[in-house]
Symmetry: C2
Subunit: 317 residues, 2 copies
């Protein structure tokens, strides 16, 4: 790895693609984004990325660029730099994205799944700063994870480490999108929170949630807003999700004994409404010696996380 001062970060999402130019302190010097033309095939999206990369590199000598970091949903092969049909990118079947970028720009590229890359960003610049052992968990539409162990990203054998959302927390529990039953994700994700509110709608006709939306259209966002407004039912639904999240985190903590667990969107938006029941569940399901070195905190980077995630791939060894 050279000590060149600039890094290009490329974030490939199902709805949005973005490119940034950053320095090694994580300052964003230029930024481009576009809606993903996902329906038009991967070649079209790659053209979008090329154009944006060129634009953020305007006026910069390529010799001053350390490398291009690419963050994308999995499954993917980080070592070979190949993307294998992420659910949000139809038709991306074995796309050698690393090679495609290296050929086009003559710069070294690295590929990492988005949860891992965001874990690196929170570890270096956000809520995981200064820790040696950190678990990052996305908590939104899905529940993913990235593990920084002994100070380094741990990817597992085929880039699937950190799939905490698909550990079994409730035997014979609700069906998960992945096909298994009782996964943590099926109990605590945004859509799962909305589904739970819907299931119990008949028993909670007076809830603020139903003054603002219908059972068919309710989202986790509605539940969080009603809970913040003091709605008892909405608070119950969030507390249930927080409790299951606490059990899932307790299991991770018993296995990895981390010093910090950093939680994404829903923890950021709902705060203590989920974190209090979560910590109570942790109290029951994790040993005191495990808990005494462990902090569970919301993520800090917010919208900056996606920009910094891909950049961080070139701040590692």
């Amino acid at each position: 790895m050279t000590d060149a001062p600039y890094i290009v970060g490329v974030d490939i999402g199902g709805t949005k693609v973005a490119c940034v130019l950053a320095d090694v302190e994580g300052n964003i010097l230029a930024r481009q984004w576009q809606p993903t033309r996902a329906g038009e095939g991967w070649q079209v999206v790659v053209q979008q990325l090329f154009e944006m990369t060129e634009r953020v590199l305007e006026g910069v000598s390529y010799r001053q660029v350390r490398g291009i970091g690419i963050s994308c949903g999995g499954p993917l092969d980080s070592q070979r730099g190949v993307v294998y049909s992420p659910p949000n990118l139809p038709g991306w079947d074995a796309v050698p994205i690393k090679q495609v970028f290296e050929d086009r720009f003559g710069l070294p590229a690295r590929l990492e799944n988005d949860a891992n890359a965001t874990a690196l960003a929170e570890h270096r610049f956000g809520a995981g700063r200064g820790t040696r052992n950190m678990v990052f968990m996305t908590w939104g539409t899905g529940v993913g994870g990235g593990l920084v162990l002994d100070g380094r990203l741990y990817r597992g054998t085929n880039d699937l480490a950190g799939e905490i959302g698909h550990t079994t927390v409730l035997l014979d529990g609700p069906l998960c999108g992945c096909g298994k039953r009782g996964c943590l994700e099926a109990l605590v994700s945004g859509p799962s929170i909305a589904r739970r509110a819907r299931e119990l709608a008949g028993e909670s006709p007076e809830s603020l949630i139903w003054q603002r939306t219908s059972p068919n259209e309710a989202t986790a966002q509605h539940v969080v807003e009603a809970a913040h407004a003091g709605d008892t039912f909405a608070r119950f639904v969030l507390a249930e999700a927080g409790t299951y999240m606490g059990i899932g985190i307790a299991n991770v903590a018993q296995i990895l004994n981390p010093e910090r667990v950093v939680l994404g969107t829903i923890a950021v938006k709902a705060g203590d409404l989920v974190l209090e029941p979560l910590r109570q569940a942790l109290q029951v399901h994790a040993w005191s010696r495990v808990r005494e070195v462990l902090q569970v905190v919301p993520a800090e980077l917010g919208d900056r996380a996606q920009d910094l995630a891909a950049v961080c791939l070139w701040l590692e060894d």
Copy 2:
């Protein structure tokens, strides 16, 4: 770390203490063992260890010894080399065993908990050979674990990584010795298997188990022997334990994406009687992409594991 050719391995157990002299290929050149005089206080046990260490070192120049490895039940602080009241060593409250050995012999010493040390031994000499990411699990009286990740032992923040036996597998399940409910250990350990057989004794009066022992005296060993002899009830009890073990391993696999899980005593003794149901549960609870790189196998070192465990502490970086 010097390249001296010999290593002293010290194994401190609740019933037995042992010392070996080994070379760096893991050949045991001398061996001493004694029943642990655990009731007489730690100073007496340390005297036992000193005597045995002197004896295995007879005729060896201390300059030829790389170091002393000490394997002991946790909790302990591997970095400071201090043992904190393991359940099987009453009165060992903050014993600075590393310092004690270094002062006595003028040789550098390292301390590690026994599950971690055994994980290193299986990784280097046993069923984990050649793997980069390996989970070792003791499966006997207790269910512990040791993690080799990216080729190195991962200890966690305060030496508690790998406590897989105390992840929650069955919410509101049986009470565990640790005080929690539904821990993997409370469902699959030797005593748990015996308890389960006892619970169901009334429904299985014809079982071979009860021809050989009484419900009050039944052990997992009786269950395994009856199952090997074809006893349907004993096979059912083992299959249930194997199924829960498979769920626990599935959760670990979703988090760590290892290439091998190496299982201790009960897997070695019961073989496919537990491994078949275990693999079926893994099929249900772990993703196919996680399973396709994963092997679950019995440990290979048997009685050699304890001798090699402490020695392996000086074969690491």
